[in-house]
């Protein structure tokens, strides 16, 4: 609970409808889409513009009260979860499209503007916004900047950082800076690059300028069913070895198919296939048909059972919904799930999936796999039931093992979901003390008192040593 004078000050800034401080109304803000850890905020503030954000932050910084930004709360690593009784600064009311410059292909939005709404708004003129996380119908561009969100099409088009050209940032002391440049190339140190993916630890973004792209002339989507996951994995490598850069290349395993087929996005996958691939090619109308044919050909070379090009937009849209709704559809087969976000070299896919299956058996917890196969970004979905004592911990432990496996084969612990609170321990597995120290010092330039989203992204040094020891001990067991 905040003291009443602080509540009064915040209310003066954002108006009475913009502050939630009654303890009975705060439970709904205990977590984002990562539910394994929760914490009650001290209050929730809903500012309407940059000036209000700056005033709120200044007020909290002066009082020494920690705070954190929140968009739609769809994050999967607990980045918006108040673990230290922070004041949640919800940017959900800052949801305007401020400016579109079609000639120069730029759009400026407030942070609470929903990702897919940008594409909807510019589509009539033939444009779209490329980063497309599965939650794009609801997640906000501010949150995308915080997490450096990816999506199915980042294989060809890159992730959020490749599309953000400028941002207005309220610093953790309430100061205001403009990073990047809407039209020019960045000069000096790339502070914008540092900001994207910093998970709200460097300040609060209040305006974002992004690139918008011309819609490709033609898009073809191929669905391929495989009896063996090895064949699907080899197909993915085969397509890329063939010189094709698909716009997207996604894979799902049988358990994920079962879950999503129970939802209204029913495709009707056969029960005896191990993997489905969804491959999209796009570009100039003249070449796309041939490209799709080549993709089909590669699938055939790898013992595909059935392969087909979407016959119309309705079918294509259903296939994509089936893929994009797969995470939450896990709710159909399990009361809770935890999604991991490891990245591995594409060529190690088969072997890593097999090891994950073994870990899953050992932990006696089901794991569904839905992932961006083209860029080796895995999303193992660990099914568990939080009502069974100890199972949340078992699931967390299984997740940790999977992430360490990714690191061990030369990959990383997150492709697009961020570190948040969830993967904070694994940061210590991935980075050396010196590297983490450097990151901490860099953060301190922006956020010297660690008031802005404290405890996220970069582990606090105190825990480093013991975890390192534990990790070393574990590594010596497994090798």
């Amino acid at each position: 609970m905040l003291n009443s004078s602080l509540i009064r000050k915040l209310t003066e800034i954002v108006g009475p409808g913009g502050v939630i401080h009654d303890s009975k109304q705060l439970a709904a803000y205990e977590c984002d889409a990562y539910v394994a850890q929760t914490g009650r905020p001290a209050a929730v503030v809903l500012p309407a513009d940059t000036d209000q954000v700056a005033q709120v932050v200044r007020c909290l910084a002066r009082a020494g009260v920690p705070f954190l930004p929140r968009g739609a709360g769809t994050g999967l690593s607990g980045g918006a979860t108040p673990m230290h009784q922070e004041v949640v600064i919800s940017l959900a009311r800052m949801d305007k499209l401020l400016h579109v410059d079609f000639a120069n292909q730029r759009a400026t939005v407030q942070p609470g503007f929903v990702n897919l709404d940008l594409t909807r708004q510019v589509a009539p003129q033939g444009f779209y916004y490329a980063p497309d996380p599965s939650s794009q119908s609801v997640c906000t561009i501010g949150g995308n900047v915080g997490e450096n969100a990816g999506g199915s099409h980042c294989l060809k088009y890159g992730v959020t950082t490749n599309h953000v050209v400028a941002a207005k940032l309220v610093l953790p002391d309430g100061g205001l800076v403009q990073l990047g440049d809407a039209y020019g190339d960045p000069l000096g140190l790339d502070l914008l690059g540092l900001l994207v993916g910093s998970e709200g630890t460097l300040g609060i973004v209040t305006e974002i300028t992004v690139r918008i792209l011309k819609r490709p002339q033609e898009v073809k989507t191929v669905m391929a069913w495989f009896e063996r996951v090895e064949d699907a994995s080899e197909t993915v490598s085969g397509i890329i070895a063939d010189g094709i850069i698909p716009a997207a290349c996604e894979m799902m395993d049988q358990l994920a198919m079962q879950a999503v087929d129970k939802s209204r996005y029913h495709v009707g996958y056969p029960p005896d296939i191990e993997a489905v691939l969804l491959i999209e090619v796009d570009g100039l109308a003249a070449g796309v048909d041939e490209l799709a044919e080549r993709v089909v050909e590669v699938c055939r070379r790898h013992r595909v059972r059935t392969v087909r090009v979407a016959k119309d937009e309705a079918e294509r849209s259903l296939w994509w919904s089936s893929r994009k709704m797969a995470f939450p559809a896990i709710g159909r087969i399990s009361p809770d799930y935890m999604v991991q976000d490891g990245v591995i070299p594409r060529t190690r896919l088969t072997e890593v999936l097999k090891t994950i299956a073994r870990y899953s058996r050992e932990a006696d917890l089901r794991v569904a796999n839905v992932f961006h196969a083209g860029d080796g970004n895995l999303h193992p979905l660990i099914c568990y039931d939080a009502r069974i004592p100890g199972q949340t911990e078992q699931a967390t432990e299984l997740g940790r093992r999977i992430l360490e496996l990714c690191v061990d084969v030369g990959g990383s612990i997150t492709g697009e979901h961020g570190v948040g609170v969830e993967k904070i321990r694994e940061m210590e597995y991935l980075f050396t003390d010196a590297e983490l120290h450097l990151q901490t010092r860099l953060r301190e330039v922006f956020n010297p008192h660690d008031l802005c989203n404290p405890g996220k992204l970069i582990p606090r040094p105190a825990r480093c040593v013991e975890v390192k020891q534990a990790a070393a001990a574990l590594a010596s067991h497994t090798v």
């Binding site: 929730v44 939650s135 119908s137 609801v138 209204r264 939450p328 896990i330 709710g331 159909r332």
Partner: protein
């Protein structure tokens, strides 16, 4: 998937003897299996009208389900912290249409409201509105008819003009006063009284092989304000080869009671309707009010603890069809009378979200010669009517109504829908803006086209 129920009917009662957990100390608490299905992804936020308006997680489907879950675990009390989120919900079910996990938010909300209803009863603080209308009037067909007669007298006798002249209505809250201004003229007696108990088929018949019987559910609001639509429904059915029966002992569907948390009263009404309609032995129970249709289809939910009644409710629910649904199912005859108008179609929440009916009404409209159907942007967003929501939450209801009116394309000279609550609400909006467009039920246009055939041929 379109054309079927968004949720497959449950074959077995769920959680018949659920333990009374946490803050939910009364019978029929929100089901654990239902709130556990929510994985907190937030995909529902974008379609929730109250979240769109407030951006407050407390007023989102995910937030509401989370709070219900917390209360069930004893982490929150059954008090105002939960009450406002639960009662500010429109029960429009838009969230259910997008939920990848299939969380039945409506059922959770209704059961949570049931807990508050029990608590209010126990503490003797039930709201006068609930008591008067839900138990006092809607539960009693004769009183409802008496209310209708009074309203008719009021409108016809010149009393309305006197009341307006003397500004007598100013004692009422402004939103109710406004609603009074747009109440339709109650010219016809209720169809439930006027229609014969059995109406033989007219027309050349449907493509169905065997003779088909449809039992007409006349509804309360529909029959009170739009009895002509009930008449039109009967005509359209017989025109398409159905024999229509009108079970005279039918009562209010109980939807308003379920929405308000008064499950006991709803159950009593449901039992009477189930008996009345099963006795009629019709192939279909035909409904032209989306809210009633959804409630009738969900009757089994009221009897989860009673296997015999549950089975009976299921047998009943399986026969329930919206008028648009049944016409498409039997293969309706395309009408031939021309109607030269441009109309737009509003998806009533309890048709599209609760019953998954989207294509059928459009199919009917598209079959009318000369009629041009222009799309209504965001047609599945609630208009704010939501049962008695526009009376209990006028501010939010008005905001949603304004958005709905903003969306109506300029080219349209009528907005068409399948629910009387929406019709009253949108009439209010049209009246307020002096928009000069008609607010119609799908069946009215279809009936008009059929009737024109006779004249034209």
């Amino acid at each position: 998937m379109s054309g079927t129920l968004s949720q497959p009917a449950r074959e077995t009662p769920m959680q018949a003897d659920a333990p009374k957990t946490g803050a939910f100390a009364y019978p029929e608490p929100p089901d654990r299996d239902r709130y556990s299905a929510c994985v907190h992804c937030g995909f529902c936020l974008e379609v929730c009208p109250t979240y769109q308006e407030t951006s407050d997680e407390n007023l989102s489907p995910r937030g509401r389900v989370y709070l219900i879950k917390q209360a069930a675990q004893g982490l929150l009390a059954l008090d105002e912290g939960l009450q406002n989120p639960v009662f500010s919900c429109l029960d429009c079910r838009a969230c259910e249409s997008v939920c990848p996990s299939g969380v039945e938010v409506g059922a959770l909300i209704e059961k949570a409201r049931g807990q508050f209803h029990h608590k209010a009863e126990e503490e003797g603080v039930a709201s006068p509105l609930t008591r008067l209308f839900l138990r006092g009037v809607f539960a009693h067909p004769r009183r409802l008819r008496a209310l209708g007669r009074m309203l008719r007298l009021y409108q016809k006798s010149g009393l309305r003009a006197v009341a307006h002249g003397l500004r007598l209505l100013h004692v009422l809250p402004p939103h109710i006063r406004e609603m009074e201004a747009v109440l339709p003229e109650l010219s016809d007696p209720p169809a439930l009284l006027k229609l014969p108990e059995r109406i033989p088929t007219a027309g050349s018949g449907s493509r169905a092989a065997a003779p088909v019987t449809g039992a007409l559910f006349t509804g309360c609001v529909m029959d009170l304000f739009f009895s002509d639509i009930n008449q039109a429904t009967a005509r359209v059915l017989t025109r398409n080869g159905l024999t229509v029966v009108v079970p005279k002992t039918q009562v209010c569907c109980g939807a308003l009671h379920v929405h308000a948390g008064d499950r006991e009263q709803a159950r009593a009404l449901a039992r009477q309707n189930i008996d009345a309609f099963l006795a009629a032995g019709a192939d279909y129970v035909v409904v032209n009010a989306a809210g009633c249709g959804a409630a009738l289809k969900e009757y089994p939910e009221l009897f989860t603890g009673q296997p015999d009644l549950y089975a009976k409710a299921q047998a009943f629910a399986r026969r329930v069809r919206d008028i648009s649904e049944v016409l498409v199912e039997v293969g309706f005859q395309p009408p031939r009378g021309r109607i030269e108008r441009t109309v737009t179609y509003h998806d009533a929440c309890h048709l599209c979200h609760a019953q998954g009916i989207r294509s059928q009404p459009r199919q009917l409209l598209a079959s009318i010669p000369g009629l041009k159907l222009v799309p209504l942007p965001d047609s599945e967003r609630c208009c704010g009517s939501a049962g008695i929501y526009n009376l209990t939450h006028p501010d939010m209801a008005n905001r949603l109504l304004e958005r709905k009116l903003d969306d109506i394309p300029e080219a349209a000279d009528a907005v068409v829908m399948g629910n009387p609550g929406c019709m009253l609400q949108i009439r209010l909006g049209v009246h307020r803006r002096q928009a000069g467009i008609d607010v119609l039920h799908t069946v009215q246009l279809l009936d008009e086209s059929y009737r024109k055939e006779v004249i034209e041929c």
